[in-house]
């Protein structure tokens, strides 16, 4: 079997493996096992739940490039934009303001060339990712609803451009639960705060256990993960004492299932203290692997570190891993000069390519969906003829998907000759979300949550599964 994952995602065996690892209270765990059957287990909101239909993907790695990556400089080749640079086009809206504007076309800063057997064209901005195009489906007709970072960032994460709603990762955690109870179901690795802040991985009205657990690259990636007791033995004494008291308490409160799961949570926490540092401990990774990601040994800096952590989390059964490359500053928001894309691309290019190659060689790409997106593209035109940057552009931009259930080596959708509007097969953010849920075995119209008298969905009342890109 190519897939060497250590877990089997059926609920009983998942729980069984936890029982096997339980140091403290096997009795309690067996009770948990007995009552926790069925998708609506009240004691464990993260219990594995059945999918709506057979899924292609078991987990998602969601790569988010913050600030708005220029599509016409990266994934969407526009020969006419090279040819007609300096000429004017007329648009009826500019940066959210209505009106008739004459704009100057700006030449892309990076040349395009076909790559791989598929011949998908990628610019020289991403030389490493270009090597992986045969594993990708590049979508060149993405659409968002808002021209501002805050709203567009919220939109690509939650499907709502205005109000805080559950993030896509929270919906998937809510819909599917998690197979590794020692780790959160939804992990976000972000070196800085993105636009719209924690709402981006918030669970909003969904139960709080579905919110993303934030990992900040650095010495202390997860809050309170570092054992404060001076030795493991000391901590075990404390846990043991607490467990005895809790067990006695449980005997007199046997009907409250929540109490049992709370006892369990201390075991998980204890396990996390070990497992989380293990996730971040790359000492067993080979030099070849580190090289593939372009990761300096011992370094926790940069997207390469985030990508390798993502693979290690995916291996351990984390359902949804989101990586945010930078934050709300010093990002892809290249108003001043497109050349600021260069160092940002360098940060992510080899790392992402490494991640794809690594997943593939481990057989994990067969059941892992990798998604790469940004909140919007950048204008192919500018108000000034010699402007060096580009503005926000939500009418069309590019994203890609790779891995489980997605056709590889194809492109989908087209922008117009200059990359200004969608010309063919639009993929709105809602469609994008519907497709991700579909690949995870969830029907976006059925994955609902009742809040304030209304059933909410990730895709609101919209969304179309882009069947054309499904393998």
């Amino acid at each position: 079997m190519k897939n060497k994952l250590a877990f089997n995602p059926s609920r009983r065996s998942a729980l069984g493996s936890i029982v096997g690892g339980s140091m403290l209270l096997p009795g309690i765990i067996s009770e948990l096992l007995a009552e926790g059957e069925g998708p609506a287990s009240s004691s464990n909101p993260l219990a594995v739940k059945p999918t709506h239909f057979s899924p292609k993907a078991k987990r998602v790695i969601f790569l988010y490039m913050s600030g708005g990556v220029s599509h016409v400089d990266s994934w969407d080749p526009k020969p006419k934009l090279f040819a007609d640079a300096g000429k004017t086009v007329s648009v009826n809206e500019f940066q959210g303001r209505k009106g008739d504007f004459n704009m100057f076309l700006k030449r892309p800063d990076w040349e395009f060339a076909p790559h791989g057997e598929s011949g998908t064209e990628v610019s020289s901005l991403f030389p490493h990712m270009a090597e992986c195009v045969d594993d990708m489906c590049v979508i060149r007709s993405m659409q968002s609803d808002h021209t501002n970072h805050y709203e567009a960032t919220l939109g690509i994460h939650t499907g709502s451009f205005t109000f805080a709603r559950p993030s896509v990762g929270s919906w998937i955690s809510y819909g599917l639960g998690t197979v590794n109870q020692n780790l959160p179901s939804f992990v976000v690795i972000a070196p800085h705060t993105p636009y719209a802040g924690g709402q981006v991985w918030g669970s909003s009205f969904l139960p709080g256990s579905h919110q993303g657990t934030l990992v900040m690259p650095g010495p202390n990636p997860v809050a309170n993960i570092q054992r404060r007791a001076a030795s493991t033995r000391l901590q075990q004494l404390e846990l043991d004492m607490m467990a005895k008291m809790n067990q006695r308490h449980l005997t007199s409160h046997s009907k409250d299932t929540h109490l049992a799961s709370r006892i369990k949570s201390f075991e998980t926490a204890f396990g996390m203290q070990k497992e989380i540092p293990e996730v971040f401990d790359f000492s067993k990774e080979t030099e070849a692997t580190l090289n593939m990601y372009g990761l300096e040994p011992e370094s926790t800096k940069g997207f390469a570190w985030q990508c390798l952590v993502a693979r290690r989390l995916a291996e351990r059964g984390v359902r949804f891993v989101e990586l945010i490359d930078v934050g709300s500053t010093n990002n892809w928001d290249a108003h001043g000069n497109m050349q600021s894309h260069a160092p940002l691309a360098k940060n992510v290019d080899q790392a992402i390519a490494g991640l794809l190659k690594d997943l593939k060689q481990r057989g994990m790409l067969d059941d892992t969906l990798v998604v790469c997106t940004t909140e919007f593209g950048r204008t192919p035109f500018n108000a000034a003829v010699n402007a060096a940057g580009r503005e926000h552009h939500h009418w069309v931009f590019s994203s890609w998907m790779a891995g489980a259930g997605v056709k590889s080596g194809i492109t989908y959708g087209k922008s117009d000759e200059y990359g200004i509007r969608v010309a063919q097969d639009p993929v709105h953010v809602h469609d994008f979300h519907a497709t991700i849920l579909h690949l995870m075995g969830l029907d976006h119209t059925k994955l609902t949550y009742r809040n304030s008298g209304r059933d909410y969905r990730l895709t609101d009342v919209h969304g179309r599964v882009v069947h054309e890109i499904l393998s």
């Binding site: 809790n246 996390m272 008298g453």
Partner: protein
Amino acid sequence: MLISSLVFLGGQSVRADQRQDFFEAKIRPVLIQKCFKCHGDTKASGGFRVDSRERLLKGGDSGPAIVPGKPVESRLIHAIQRQGDASEMPPEQDQALRADEVANFVTWIKSGAFWPAQSAKFESVKHWAYEPIRNVDPPKVQDKAWANTSVDPFIQRRQEEQGVLHAPTADKRTLIRRATFDLTGLPPTPDETTAFIQDTSPHAFASVINRLLKSPAYGERWGRHWLDVVRYADTAGETADYPVPLSWRYRNYVIDAFNSDKPYDEFLREQIAGDIIANQGAENQDSAEKYAERVTATGYLAISRRFGFDSENYHHLTVQDTIDNMGQTMLGLSLGCARCHDHKFDAVSMQDYYGLYGIFDSSRYPFPGSEQKQKMRSMASLLPSLESKQKWHEYEARKAALSATLTKFQQPIPTALLRSLHDIDGDIELQAAAGGGSNGVLVSPWLYSGNIAVAIAAQSPFRNLYSAGRVGIHVPVGEESYSIQQALYPSHTIENGNLLYVNLDFRVTASDTNAQGVHRFSLGSKDETHAAEVLISSESVSLKTGEAIEVLSSIKLNEWHNLQLTFDLKRKTISGKVGLPGSVVDFSDKPMTSNWNGLIDLVTFDSTKTLGKSFPAIDFDNLGVQKIKISPVTQQSSTVVASTAQLDPNLLNQQLHTLLGNDGDFELQDKGTSPAHPWGPGPNSVVNVSTQSQSPFQNIFPLGKLGLHMPNRAEYDGVVLALANIKLAENERLFVNFDFRCADNQRGGDGSWRFYLGHGPGNSAAIEFFMNGKGFFRRTANVKDLVAPVAIGQWYQVQLELNLKSRTYTGQLTSAANQVDFIGQFATGWDGMIDKSFIDSYGHIGGVRPSIDTDNFVFQSTPLPAFNAPVVKVAEGSQALRRTEVDKIRQQLVLLQSNAELAKLELNQLLEDGPFAMAYAMSEGTPHDVRMQLRGDPSQLGDEVPRGFIKALKGSSLPTITKGSGRLELAQWLTRADNPLISRVMINRVWQHHFEHGLVKTSNDFGTRGLPPTHPDLLDHLATRFMESGWSVKAMHRLIMLSATYQQASSTVVATSPDASANEDVTDLYTSFPHRRLSAEEIRDSILAVSGALDTTVGHEHPFPAAINWGFTQHGPFLAEYNHNKRSVYLMTQRLKRHSFLALFDGADPNTTTTERMTTTVPTQALFFLNSSFVYENSAKWASQILASKEHELEQIELAWQQAYLRRPSETERAEALKFLKAYRVELGLVNSDNIESRSLAALLRTLIGSNEFLHVD
């Protein structure tokens, strides 16, 4: 047929409302979700709409859609079955109806296609929650011994019906712990517990409840429940999440309201219309506290979320948030859906929605600041309006005085921060001109229509009323159908003073002589009786009163004019003046319009629409309407600078300049110091006036004692001279002299100095020369080259003659040894201006440079004495005299400078403090009705709807809004005795917070989509008692908590009756008390309480950064957590980033209403108990307290158990604890720990803190 097809609905007989339920549950939602998009009221594809039965019967282009009773013949069925010849509907395959949905349509048509009303817009729906509250007596029960209060029989009746038993009464320890957490959110103390256990009187529990209800902690707990529902936060929630420093006042108002048991109806009225009620109270001599309290209450509306980059451009979303929250919080109704369409399920129409919208849109929300407009403003005054007006004027005057002081020193003036309401936005400074994310149109408190703009060019130059601003209103050429309005609040009548003063600046610009259109400025009342109208044409300004028009004065095009009107409201006459400074026409005793109704509460700018006339452009600024007299027009600030009035810094500077000239020989400077005025060192300079730097040359100045010395350093700013009075007429020449020597080059390096002359610093140099230890270089055009080599230690004189017209220069570099002539061109980037000269280290060669001495600088328009000209002699005595004079002026300037510094400090403080205490609260705006926003899009407007209420809930009658926004009427209408919802919704919340769930479990949704009450009679009984008690929440606590139902043992410890049906949800039967986990706040407060660390004082404002420094953006939003040991309700909570602790333990979501706290169990919570510094620090504190009071280990354990669990440890627990402590000490010894005794006890206490018994309530 009808009956048979509907049996699955569960009834044996079919009533009309079952058909209706079926329609509402199964048909209408599908029609709306799947069909409306194309066949709704905005788009009727195929000529066909599905929004009424009639339209379905009529069908579209291909014939009728439905045939009632005959699904097989109904095209609608063919379409949704995707069979037959009808088009497949909906066209998208993945939108296709499910089989069960299709079956429902078949059933529906078969049974006659029932449609609830004759149209889609139904105005009354029969639904239990909209029915009047019934005064229900407790039902008869079999076991009469159980009931304690009238609550019990209702509960007992259903238990008896279901054959289940109630639980026994809880023990006293459990009861007091339950009651104390329920009412205060804190654990009881061991002493309180003992006292209750020992109190054997029948009223023991009642006494406990009364004691708890009197504790201030009660309001902190129950206020928090309310704050959850109203999504309280300390930040605004727009893209940069601006802090709202005044938000806390509303938070404390809520806490105080619960503590004082403010009648609930009054509580609601104050939150909707407290400011209006306060003003009525002020007229009735209510106390100042009462006034402030009521105004503060409207913080409820003010804390509505803000959105976007420029939140005023997204104000419609804020109003939407207000309506959503008010519906859910107060009425238990989701009104939000009606923003885009008539409510699918509940009786709320778009008409209703926009009727409410108009009310809030006519109100002024305070502005918290946003990325686009970083200053907060429009805060509400906590003083009655007349008093606050007075203080406001004092504040403005003080602000103007301080600003004037700063202006004199050309120091930046902080922009005003807080603008209170009760004052019109007359200088337009609250508005932003277009740019950034702003559209440059007027926003609240103004209303406008037409093509007008806020423009920088429309700023009036006059300062008789306001200090200098930035913007005014511009009405462009040809604009004739505009209208700009603002309501005056409170209104001006004869009752609040005889005289009313009005000020307005305007300027007419006409591009052609045919611009004959007339603009109008009018004051009066909303019902269109003007007190007076001022007509402004391109030729004259006239006064119109009734039909009479009288020309007051002619006007000059393109010139700003000032108009002042004084209304004598008693005599009904107008006097005034109009004109430009120095040319003012007075007029007096003109009659006011005869049919004027005695009220002035609206100003309007518009045009007298005249057919065929073209309109000149007009600018307006500085509108004032006040009871205080207005100064005559002037371009000077009206306010005198008090403390520095006798000294004029401009004058002093001028005198100094005359005395010093350029001070080019430095003889008036002080030895050993940095050069003073007119020279100034750069920010990183080491420049001294030095005796070793005296030039030996005497052709320009007499031989002196001083020059300038700059040591040899790599890089720093040199010395600058601001040149005044240099005329740059094209034919003029400029003559320049300076002497220099490179004194030594001990540190090596070829770095050069730069001599600069131009409009700099920056690129616009006219000429530049460079000196290092080796050469003298010139710049000609953009080329730098060597003029001549120089020697270290040798003095040189540079003389230049600049031809400003040809942009060329000639020069000589002369030393005792020789002379070099050179010529050059000005730098190509020069912009035509020369006002600065300096020497700095930014020469053309970098690195360490020699030290340099310079002297004898001259810049003049007449030729200079040549190098070999005769020696200039010093005039006897004149130097000393000048020196004395200069010293005197310098001292005065220093004094003024320090006054400016003080003024700056005072101004900052003044701006922080504001004119009076303020709240983040509401005020009245300009009353108006709004147009419906089609599909919720504010750019697509439908019909205008009058402000109003929800018609289906109208009760006996709908009040009419006669004046103001309508909030007062809304508040009264909401809290009227026959509103069935208010009382039910609140009593349900009270019940919910005692029993985990409400009788209606969807406590924010009493509509048709919510769950029905489990005990409808009890709900109505409680609602009745609630109103009878005078809306006393505390009375309801007593009623509920004294019940036997409340005092039952906990759910998890009692088995329910064996006969209970296995499927019955026993929680609905209240056969025991629900066991619950503590909320986030209770967890934190309990840990602090048992550790002895809890600070029980009331929290006030948060330590936000000073508002004048704010500049938060979406790239750098506001982010902070402020820790303290006060109760958790006083923690600062943000919208963009949730508080880390509160978020971890399921705290409220401050973005949206939280009806019920969830209880999640995640390992990160366990990590908090295992490893957080909070738990470690507090367990250590607790341990040290126990160690200080108890010597023996067993006593320590005993006390810990008492404090944590309010009980003694069992034998087993005692033994386990002893064993734990022993083992822990051994292990600590192994890791060489210090303080082993306290550390091991703290560890034991941590296990108590983390235990389920500590964190749960039975």
